[in-house]
């Protein structure tokens, strides 16, 4: 009888402590999840920003202006172009 009571008391105490522990752990994990979500958002933003920057640098108006003004490039004339026709298989 007494032994049963002692075991039950011990079990009860263990459960209570586990409850406290799991609650704490759940909060920690939730905080971690939140932190990671924020990080994901930041990285997404960063990605969008870089994508925009890449576009800004590679847009054709910029390429044309650099090619013609800085590099003095010209479009090839027709007589300087060799057209290669793919052979019909």
């Amino acid at each position: 009888m007494n032994r049963a009571v002692v075991i039950l008391i011990l079990a009860l105490m263990t459960c209570s402590l586990m409850l406290v522990y799991s609650q704490q752990r759940s909060r920690m994990l939730y905080a971690e999840k939140n932190r990671l979500e924020n990080r994901q958002n930041r990285l997404n933003q960063e990605w969008s920003r870089l994508e925009y920057e890449q576009r800004e640098l590679s847009k054709s108006s910029r390429i044309v202006s650099i090619a013609t003004k800085q590099l003095h490039m010209k479009e090839p004339k027709q007589d300087k172009t060799i057209y290669v026709k793919e052979k019909a298989q």
Binding site: K59, I82, V84
Partner: protein, 581 residues
């Protein structure tokens, strides 16, 4: 037995006075009462204090949604939302003894004068937006000042990398992220997202530790892919801009159509505006003239009239016609150069008003009206743009002989450049009119047959003559490619007072390559005033620039002098090229 019985007399002896237990009972009762009272107090009248405490750990966090991107046909970004900072001030929280240096620094970062900033802070009681959409580095500097009561929050700001060349198509949003023009307006619903929120518990250090259930995820806006090719668009815009400036014109427009798919590859207007910086914007710059402005198409109408007559079997390309002098009622129809006689191809090549009128007068008004309708004139194009107009085609019952004649060369009918460009897809697609799309098309659409393939092909050859020696638009030629089209030079209509004698619209609508058409390009220049005002001099060179670059960019093989251009390369070189791919 007796000894085992409880001794009743003993208990009686030990009995304590009754009042003592009563007192204990009473005290316990009072204790419970106190607890009850306290509980009542906390739940009821004294609740505010705890509610206040609770708010600190119990918060609703907004989860902002991001507006969808707008992309071109190759996935290049035309509009995107990036994070921008907003500076908010709570005037009552700003200490009175704030150092003057900090105020000066803040005013400088906000690009305001110091007095303006102080006035703003004094005038307002509640929270105050000091500045929205601040660059991240400026926001960081403001944060470094660490002024109590000045808070930085995040918002999204729209960016348009293509700037003014694409602004009429893409449009722009207002500061609340609502679409105001172009695609941003007409597709606002699918582009805009919906903010979400979550209800959380935070700990002493401000970290989120628990979720209280009602989580609403943010719904981000959908991306939108257009049919436009940003490279061709950029080329078109530059060409139109150059033409407007060189010809000292009021405005100019161009549209490039892929006749295989009906996709609009470019739609350019000048004057334009930079959607990233709209401070100096007027209504004139805002108009997407390709869709919103109608005009009388002038001679660009002639191929349609001639095609109808060919279709009816009334004429052949080689039919010889007396031109001479034509008077209808009091009105004399005139040509730029007088010709005694021309064949049908030459009527197109030389753009003879008299010849076209004579062809038109052989037909029934109803047939011409039906043809105008079937190529889309007089109807609002279904293209998903707000503000697109229908133009005017009057009912044929009201046409007189003169009306019928003038309409055959494009007076008395009005269309937009979009409709005019679209109508030429009937020539490019062997007689089929194709619906145009501003969005990328997966499979080629089904066209509606207007003319027979033979008529369309005959017309293409006639239109090629326009760009050859003896035609009105030699300047439309594109090296390496066979092109064809029709010029137009129309007196501007001044409403009731008739036509302006010295104000013109110059047009060129063309098709390329003639042997296997891929593109329809329509160009309009409004009121050219420097030198020539003819479509062949003003609009045709724009066509040539745009078409040449667009064909190369699309990788369309040259068809003009291909035989001379293609060298018989040995197989090893071909293999090398193949390997490099």
């Amino acid at each position: 037995m007796k000894a085992h019985q409880p001794n009743s007399s003993n208990t009686l002896v030990l009995r304590l006075p009754m009042w003592r237990s009563r007192v204990v009972l009473f005290l316990m009762f009072m204790g419970f009462c106190a607890l009850l009272g306290r509980a009542f107090w906390i739940q009821g009248p004294g609740n505010d204090f705890y509610a206040e405490k609770g708010k600190r750990v119990n918060r609703v966090i907004a989860l902002p949604s991001v507006r969808g991107k707008i992309l071109d046909r190759n996935g290049a970004i035309l509009a995107t939302s990036l994070e921008a900072k907003t500076i908010i001030a709570y005037p009552e929280m700003i200490p009175d003894d704030l150092s003057a240096n900090k105020i000066t620094a803040l005013a400088k970062l906000l690009k305001m004068s110091e007095s303006e900033l102080k006035k703003k802070l004094i005038d307002s009681k509640n929270q105050l937006y000091l500045r929205r959409q601040v660059e991240p580095n400026v926001a960081a500097k403001i944060k470094e000042l660490s002024i109590p009561g000045v808070v930085i929050t995040s918002e999204y700001r729209r960016y348009y990398p293509e700037g003014e060349s694409m602004s009429h198509i893409v449009g722009f949003t207002d500061i609340q992220d609502k679409g105001q023009d172009g695609m941003e307006l007409s597709n606002d619903e699918s582009l805009s997202g919906k903010d979400g929120q979550k209800h959380v518990v935070i700990d002493r250090l401000g970290r989120v530790v628990d979720d209280l259930g009602d989580y609403q995820p943010p719904r981000h806006g959908k991306d939108l892919q257009l049919s436009v090719d940003s490279k061709i668009q950029s080329i078109s815009y530059d060409a139109v801009k150059k033409a407007v400036i060189d010809n000292r014109a009021k405005a100019g427009s161009a549209i490039v159509i892929d006749s295989y798919t009906g996709e609009v590859l470019a739609m350019a207007n000048y004057p334009s505006y930079d959607p990233n910086n709209r401070s100096s914007m007027t209504g004139d710059q805002l108009r997407n003239r390709v869709l919103t402005d109608t005009f009388e198409p002038g001679s660009t109408m002639k191929p349609l009239t001639v095609a109808l007559s060919l279709e009816k079997g009334l004429i052949k390309p080689t039919t010889q016609m007396q031109i001479g002098h034509l008077q209808i009622g009091k009105k004399v129809i005139t040509d730029t150069h007088p010709y005694p006689s021309l064949n049908i191809s030459q009527i197109i090549q030389k753009s003879s008003n008299i010849g076209t009128s004579r062809i038109a007068l052989q037909m029934e008004p109803e047939d011409m009206w039906t043809m105008f309708q079937s190529v889309g004139f007089g109807q609002v194009p279904k293209v998903g743009f707000k503000g697109a107009v229908a133009g005017i085609v009057r009912p044929y019952e009201k046409w007189g002989k003169l009306d019928q004649a003038t309409m055959s060369f494009g007076y008395g009918v009005s269309t937009s450049l979009f409709q005019l460009g679209r109508s030429y897809t009937v020539f490019a697609r062997d007689g089929e009119l194709v619906p145009l799309s501003m969005f990328k098309v997966d499979k080629p659409p089904v066209g509606t047959r207007v003319f027979s393939p033979k008529t369309a092909i005959d017309m293409r050859y006639m239109m090629e003559l326009v760009t050859l020696e003896g035609g009105t638009a030699i300047k439309a030629q594109v090296p390496g490619y066979r092109v064809g089209g029709k010029t137009g030079t129309a007196h501007k209509s001044m409403g009731k007072s008739g036509y302006a004698s010295n104000k013109y619209h110059a047009f060129f609508v063309g098709i390329a390559p003639i042997s296997n058409p891929r593109l329809v390009v329509a160009v309009m220049v409004d009121e050219p005033t420097a030198g020539s005002h003819y479509g062949g001099d003003v609009a045709a060179p724009v066509f040539s620039t745009i078409t040449g670059s667009a064909l190369r960019s699309l990788g369309v093989a040259p068809d003009a002098t291909l035989k001379e251009l293609v060298q018989n390369v040995d197989t090893s070189l071909t293999q090398k090229v193949a390997l490099k791919r």
